[in-house]
């Protein structure tokens, strides 16, 4: 059940990142660095769900590419919006 143990690890990582993001947003509001950090972690969270929960890693490469591209484009806009 190696795959199953990995799932627990990924769930824990996703929850920790969520709590970290919230802490960053609450304590260090309106800094560009915080927005960049949040955008990067959102991308990372998206990639984990796409690859390991949705199981697109090793599946159809075009679908995986489109899904991952989505989680590059919109977090990038978070970074762009930090410079408004």
């Amino acid at each position: 059940m190696k795959h199953s143990i990995k799932l627990e690890y990924y769930l824990a990582a996703l929850i920790v990142i969520t709590l970290l993001n919230t802490f960053l947003g609450e304590k260090f509001s309106s800094t560009t660095l915080v927005s960049i950090l949040i955008a990067l972690t959102v991308t990372y969270k998206g990639f984990i769900v796409i690859d390991h929960f949705m199981e697109l890693k090793g599946a159809n490469k075009n679908l995986r590419f489109l899904m991952r591209l989505y989680f590059v484009i919109f977090p990038s806009l978070i970074i762009v919006s930090a410079f408004y």
Binding site: T18, N21, T22, V42, A59, L63, F74
Partner: protein, 205 residues
Amino acid sequence: MMSQPIKNSLGIFPKSWSEEHAGRIPGNIPIWVGILSELTEFGIFFAAYFIAKFYYPEIFAQGPQSLHTSLGVTNTIVLLSSSYFMAKAMSFIRINNKIKCERYLWLALSCGVLYLIIKTWEFHWNTLQGFSANTNEFFTVYYYMTFNHFIHVGWASCAILWVIFRLRRGAYSSAEHSGLEALAVYWHMIDLMWILIFPLLYVLR
């Protein structure tokens, strides 16, 4: 003419997208047409958010501070857990353990229902604070995005119930579970949308 499996019957994609060339398609092609349509729909919501934030930066900096952040965080953890339970359900149907598969589907459904209850409470709490879709541009975008996502969680939760019913009727096994897998990828897509919505509305100032 011989009938073809559904995965090969939709000639709407280039040959390079076929399973033979690009790899296995989890679920089936129709669910991916649906998922890509939903991603486009949410993409428009996200574009609307960034455009509105560009024109009203101060309102969007204040907006997240008016929301009940704890409820947003709780719902994020609930949805992430539901995705985990769904992935576990998939892993058990692959080894033909239908009892554990059903157990994890019920857990995923419980998370979906819990999300709906928390979100309903959050909408009620907003109303008590005097916030509505007409309060300002931030709240218009907030209700536009979150209510739409709420509806998606609602009907996908109903779909989990349907899949549990089908599982009990013996429709899925380790050899054939494309319907269950189609629901699983759709459910993960809903979770993915919340992963983007949460920082936009609750975290970023």
